[in-house]
């Protein structure tokens, strides 16, 4: 019998990887509301409200704040294709897979890419950025990843933003794994272009890329000499659809926008500061619990993301088998290492509604049992005590 004649199986799983993250039924139900036309009055009202809620989460007054019709990587491409013209020189920092991806994307836009790299697990060193800025005063912009999803490193932005703006350049920031889980200081630092994805701390299904564009970048884009190389991601047209004019560009993913709208409402209800504190406190409890189990974390405490934690796999433990058994025996998804970290770490996401005490307790208990089966003895009792000491 053809498989499509059988019921589709979509089991409930606990998503504690780098994304997608758990989506609450409120958001899932919103996606199932009736499809409206992309120029319909009632839909346009939902778009307007969604933009206001995105501005709240980005903490920005930027009018050009939209949800691009693609995943987080489309957000990265949106930033590059709109800000870069062929032949431009740009500085792109990398401290992991997503910074390296941004270097690739910028190169595909015809940019001359100056790389500033840091080893995976460490943030980019502002001193290296300073050197690159001095050596390349003709560069147009600097791109950097705020929350590196491949390692769990939080990149401090203040010092670098000051240098970039001092040099008269634009600053492009990847906030895929930070937006909605911690402060993304768009207006405070005057960041010109910041993008994210719906499936991380915003706790919506994957498929939309929130993007906010500052006034200097809007002017820059409006004054381009050449067309944006991507028609689909061309902000000069998209700003006319999300703006008052409602100029038809492409058919927006209507039901995805409902889901994002509901997810953003949940953030507004919780309050940004409460939400950030919850992510932070749960992360601290997870870190304490993991260390009490005798596990080592990849990232120095000063640079750890509250949303994503990389754990080193002890000698003699098969990382792939561990992840397989977490799924098989506990229906828990965690992430593997990427690039040079493949096989050496697992990545644990506590994002959005997934950032809660029950998930921490479940995961620590599951990890403890599976590690014990492989001869790595752990003290789950004291790990759980550490968690409770922080959270209760």
């Amino acid at each position: 019998m053809e498989s499509w004649k059988k019921p589709r199986i979509v089991p409930e799983k606990t998503l504690l990887g780098p994304g997608p993250t758990p989506v609450e039924s409120r958001v899932l139900r919103a996606m199932a509301e009736p499809t409206l036309g992309h120029l319909d009055r009632d839909f346009v009202a939902i778009m307007d409200e969604t933009r206001e809620l995105l501005k709240l989460v980005f903490r920005t007054k930027n009018d050009l704040t939209v949800a691009m019709s693609g995943t987080g990587s489309a957000g990265m491409e949106t930033a590059c294709v709109n800000m870069i013209e062929r032949g431009d020189k740009v500085i792109i920092c990398s401290h992991g897979v997503f910074g390296t991806r941004m270097q690739d994307v910028a190169g595909r836009c015809g940019a001359e890419v100056v790389e500033v790299n840091a080893p995976m697990g460490r943030p980019v060193d502002p001193a290296d950025v300073e050197k690159a800025l001095r050596a390349n005063p003709d560069a147009k912009l600097l791109g950097i990843v705020h929350a590196e999803t491949s390692t769990g490193v939080l990149q401090p932005l203040d010092e670098i933003a000051a240098m970039v703006h001092g040099a008269g350049m634009f600053m492009v920031v990847d906030a895929v794994t930070s937006l909605g889980g911690m402060d993304v200081p768009v207006d405070r630092l005057g960041l010109e272009m910041v993008y994210s994805g719906s499936q991380k701390c915003l706790a919506c299904p994957p498929g939309l890329a929130p993007v906010t564009v500052g006034p200097r970048a809007v002017e820059h884009i409006k004054n381009r000499k050449t067309k944006v190389q991507s028609w689909y991601l061309d902000l000069t047209m998209i700003m006319r659809y999300w703006g008052q004019e409602r100029f038809y560009h492409h058919t927006a993913p209507v039901n995805m926008i409902y889901g994002l709208n509901e997810g953003l409402r949940m953030i507004a209800e919780e309050g940004l500061e409460n939400r950030f504190a919850r992510h932070r406190k749960n992360a601290e409890a997870l870190w304490a619990g993991l260390e009490a189990l005798g596990l080592e974390l990849l990232v120095d405490p000063a640079y750890r993301l509250p949303s994503l934690t990389s754990v080193k796999i002890p000698e003699g433990i098969d990382e792939a088998a561990l992840r397989r058994n977490l799924m098989k025996e506990y229906s828990i998804e965690v992430g593997s290492g990427l690039g040079d970290l493949k096989g050496k770490i697992i990545r644990i996401g506590l994002m959005g509604s997934g950032s809660n005490r029950m998930n921490i307790v479940l995961l620590l208990s599951a990890l403890s049992s599976l590690l014990a089966k492989n001869g790595f003895c752990t003290d789950i009792k004291s790990a759980l005590e550490r968690v409770d000491a922080i959270l209760m």
Copy 2:
């Protein structure tokens, strides 16, 4: 009070425009199934089945048949960025807004674009294509729109495909408004690259672009001298995610894929031939009814799409007011004219589950009443008799 503190209003409307089209609750409910990881075993099984169902609807054996993570316009861009390298000469035909869009997109890929144009409301003349092929034997490909959404014109493809392949070129076809509503002869004509959108005759919400790529095009893409200018739409990487390797590229829009899967299941259950016949018969009933109301259709019967009908607005009737009142008094959405046809036509879509007798009766009755209020007398009784004569 902030609007997000009030309930979100998403009223039921009857979508009889050029898309999005009505989405059945089965499909909406599928979108609300739990989000899974994009590399999860159970999700990957749904992707595999979705690919098989897409191959059924495209009537193709092409292994590289995928749903791109964007709307129909992203499908167009996928075709262009992957097939074209900077400096390539291409022939792009236009008989409406979407052909003109393809010319724009190809130009943004750095192609030298040879245009073959036809007036809106008519298909492209194969004799004009022949001339262009003779004058440009060095062109790499010909792009053309099968179902022009801005006019409702069906472009015959057989003769043109034979000429294009005779000249050793690739044929790229826009099937956004035809796939799932009528035959799209991918394998019969050996079309190298065909794309569509989820929100037309496939009757799913907007947000995915089904694309199928023939073996010659796959070879062509694999042997490119330069990187695909879009990282997000780069098929050389996407084929590794949809293939056995499951190479991580970007996070697929998981819940959108559930919806597409359910929509495709409904097509498989109905049977392609039954579905095409339903679209055809309902379109004929609509045409007969509209003509019985004294209205004139834009397109010659030989070139009319079963999925989309353009109706000329009688002298003295305000087109925008007519559409506004259809929405206000009947909650019916129809489309406006685009480009040169703005204010002169409305576009009526009967696509997917929207292609049914009740919608035809409702729309004809609503149109008749609204036209009568503006002094345009119609014979609704005989219009409904014509509809029943065809459908009952």
